[in-house]
Amino acid sequence: MRHHAQGMKHAAAGLMLAGGLLLGSSAATTAATITIATVNNSQMVEMQKLSTQWEKETGNKINWVVLEENVLRQRVTTDIATHGGQFDILTIGSYETPIWGKQNWLVSLDGFPASYDMNDVFPSVREALSANGKLYAVPFYAESSFTYYRKDLFDKAGLTMPSQPKYDEVRTFAEKLTDRAHEQYGICLRGKPGWGENMAYLDTLVNTFGGRWFDENWKPQLNTPAWHQAVSFYIDMMHKYGPPGANSNGFNENQALFATGHCAMWIDATSGAGLLYDRKQSQVADKVAFTAAPIAKVPNGAHWFWSWALAIPESSKNVAVAKSFLQWSTSRAYIETVGKTDGWTVVPPGTRKSTYENPQYLKAAPFADFVKNAIMTADLNHPTAEKVPYTGIQYVAIPEFQAIGTTVGQMIAGALTGQMSVDDALKEAQASVAATMQQAGYTQ
């Protein structure tokens, strides 16, 4: 391998002569330039805009790499796993953080100054971003999931949404509120395949139907009645009361559908609320209401926990500068700046107690307390009714889960469009997960 690389070096050097003369080198960087990889969510785009203040204050410069979520994840994972050293700050989730932390791929984030007020950050969020008792990422925002609904439609139909709905009730509401002639659909749910898309939602549904991914010996449980009931329920409800093309709807697409008045109910991330309540971006800003995520049989794992967080790869050569940016962008002061510049409705939610004690935020964001509760009660360590060997509610915190979640997500999407039956989808899913776990050495 070393040998090949050397040979390549000479061959490539010859090739480069021609190209290199033309191009010069783009490697020249000053010590105070950091490269940040982030997702193109509106919160991060805002951070990018405001970061010129930090650049001015500190004299450092930021190179931004803004990519859509899937591309970003590939890019960042390839780089960190091969120690490519392309980035100084990574935007990663609560799924990756503990796994990468355990591999020592990330810089441990201790020694933040008192002014940062680490105790102000929700303990449950900090715990989700830690491994072996060390913090490996600081939260930029955190979310749980709950039910959005259209108050005007419920009132018109004479329906009342309970504070803790059951899935049977949701189904009845969806039936009454579906009006296909007017492109109004009773329920919008994720259908786009992906471990962070349809499977995120479906995992919570399976949890509350009493199911689990693995038993205590890592034996896959996808052929159990709980999975079958949950998936059948989901598919039946989506067929009857969901929008057409649901199999390509993820978080974004559903948010767009809801914001333009096509959905009566939507069960998804709490972080979607800011936009739906924003009059500039939502046609239903004065009609949207929310309640807890529904439960079916057991309350365990019916709503999820996720955090987008900022971390520093151990390959970074600018750890000190990167830390200073982390402290700035996840500070109380930053949240206040966003509140002042863009309005309190859209500040990064779910990370700090102080945000939820701020009267301006409580006034601008009617969903604030609800979100805080949902985040506090999402129990990553006990996600299911039966015992499991893993943590994580809408994911399983093992490296293999991206593969597993993606494949199973594809099967479920196949069943959703009627390409295969629920039985076949789950049978294939079980076989595929069993093979992956065997290959990875969890089971014999």
């Binding site: 190209g19 080198s25 190179n63 931004w64 803004v66 859509e68 390839t78 974004n252 914001a259």
Partner: protein, 271 residues
Amino acid sequence: MSKAPLRIAVAIAWLAALLNFFPLAWMLLASFKTEVQAIASPPLFFFRPTLDNYRGIFAQQDYASFALNSIVISLATTLLMLLLAVPAAFAMAFYPGAKTRDLLLWMLSTKMLPAVGVLVPIYLLARDLHLLDTLTALVIVNTLSNLPIAVWMLFTFFRETPKDIIEASRIDGANVLQTIFLVLLPLVLPGIASTSLLSIILCWNEAFWSLNLSAHNAAPLTAFIASFSAPQGLFWARLSAASVLAIAPILVFGWISQRQLVRGLTFGAVK
């Protein structure tokens, strides 16, 4: 052809052209709408155009830097590729050996390897050579992946050139390089031009390597698009505007050069 069928034929040709272009026109239209107008049902054909999407994009991303990278990568690749391909095609066309055909076919078959299968090896190599996020890396990769096509195209061109001229020049005492530069090149300029055009188009639109080997310094327009596809909320209009910005330079370039492209894009099919 008599009058009536001719008219029908022309009408069909125009209709097909308009239909084929329609998706692009529809996108252009969407880029001047507000987000709500962009997904209005029934769709809007007449509305008050806004430049907000474009303004938003310029405020958010440094378009010029992405576009400049695309231009540099396309041009440098094409130049490097010609330097490699012209001599090879010349040798194959004018001094073919027993293995020439096999060589040519082998070159083409390298084009059929799925890039994603060798991403990790290439990433590791680029890391060890300190080429990650450099234009050099993208130029090398693009050059190598387009080289087979270029050799093939040039080969078919050169083959159509009368041999006598080359031989006459050799007898006059010119060496190989002089022959290539002074005698052959002027004759096959249309072929070289269209090979270059095709190479520029392919480089401009290459997305896989551009995304995976670049971060900030070398990121071209295909990476620019990846920062606008499917963000949160309503995104159709802004994405349309970003798409227009990403394809406009190459589209205009293609329109201007299409006559040249047509003349050369035969791959030896025309006798």
